[in-house]
Symmetry: C2
Subunit: 145 residues, 2 copies
DNA sequence: CCTGTATGATTCACCCATGAACGAAATTCC
DNA sequence: GGAATTTCGTTCATGGGTGAATCATACAGG
C-alpha cells in the first residue's frame, strides 16, 4: 500500500510544521526553565562558547538570525543574570562586545546537558532512519530559499 | 552508501527544526502581510470559518492551542481591523463570542489563497515522497507526548 | 579639512505569547 | 436561599521578536 502517496496539502503541511516546532520549542523551554534559561538565552550563550571570544552584538545577532534590536534586549537580560558582560571595543568605539562570565560558561554547560536530554526525549518516537530523514529534509528546506 | 546512518545529534536536530520552522513562518508572515494579516490572525479566522458559527473566546483559545489571555488580545486586534465582532451570549452572560464579519470572511478567503501559494513555494524543493514523509514524521512527533 | 555616508548600538512602538491575579457570572452543595 | 467553588473573560507584568528612527562613531571623497 501507499505506493502512490496522495498529494500533500501545502497549507496543512505548513501549519503542521509550525505546530510541531511549537511543541518542540515548548519542551526545550520548560526543560531549560529549571536552570533559569530560555531557548533564546541558551542560543546566545552557545554562540559565545562556539566563538571562543567576545562577539560584537551585531555579529551575535547575525549568527542568531535576528535583528540587532532584539540582541540588545537579549543581552540586557543576560547581563542582568550576570551570564554575560558588555565590554567596549577600543578599536571601534561604536562597537560593544558581549563576553561570557564564568557563570555564563557554566550555565551553558548545564543547559547543553539539559537540551541534549530534552531533545532525545522529543525525538524518542522516531527511529534512527526517520531522524536522519528528518534532518535531511529540514536541511533541504533551508537551502532552497 | 549511507546504509548505516550516523546517529543524529538530538540537540542540533531540535535547533534545526526550530530554525526551519522559523523560516517557514517568516515566509507565511510576509506573504500574509500583503493583505494586512498575520499567521496568528489568519489562524483565528480559519477556526471561525471551520466552525461555521460564532465561538466563545475560550473555545477559540483551546482550538488555537493558546491561553485565553492571548485570545483576548488577538480578538481585540481583529476587532480593530473590523474582521470579527464580539457578541454577547444571552444564555451565559460571562461568555463572549467572536463572530466573523463579512469583511472577515472575505479576508480569510484571500488569506487561504495566499497561504496555499506560499506553502507550495516553501516546500517546492521537496518531492512528493519527501513531503509525505515529512507529514508522517511530524504527525508522529505530535502523537507521542 | 570637512562633508557626506555607512555602520554599531540603542530606543520606541508594535505584535504575539505566557502566567498570575481579578471581577463577574454560573454551579454546586449544603 | 445562601456560601463555596468553578468558569469566563480581562488586565497586568514579563519575555521574545520585528522595523523605524536616532545618535555616535568610522570612513570615505571632494
Amino acid at each position: 500500500m501507499n505506493e502512490i502517496p496522495a498529494a500533500v496539502c501545502p497549507t496543512s503541511l505548513a501549519f503542521q510544521m509550525l505546530g510541531a516546532a511549537h511543541e518542540v520549542e515548548a519542551r526545550l523551554e520548560s526543560a531549560l526553565d529549571r536552570i533559569g534559561l530560555s531557548v533564546a538565552k541558551f542560543g546566545v550563550l552557545s554562540k559565545l562558547v562556539e566563538a571562543g571570544e567576545p562577539l560584537a552584538l551585531g555579529s551575535l545577532a547575525e549568527r542568531s538570525c535576528c535583528v540587532r534590536s532584539n540582541m540588545t534586549q537579549l543581552v540586557d537580560r543576560l547581563e542582568a543574570d550576570r551570564l554575560v558582560e558588555r565590554i567596549n571595543d577600543p578599536s571601534d568605539r561604536r562597537s560593544v562586545r558581549a563576553a561570557l562570565t564564568p557563570a555564563g560558561r557554566e550555565r551553558h554547560a548545564e543547559g547543553a546537558h539539559i537540551v541534549e536530554e530534552a531533545g532525545r526525549a522529543v525525538f524518542a518516537s522516531l527511529d534512527d532512519g526517520e531522524r536522519a530523514t528528518l534532518q535531511r529534509v529540514l536541511a533541504q528546506l533551508g537551502r532552497s530559499p
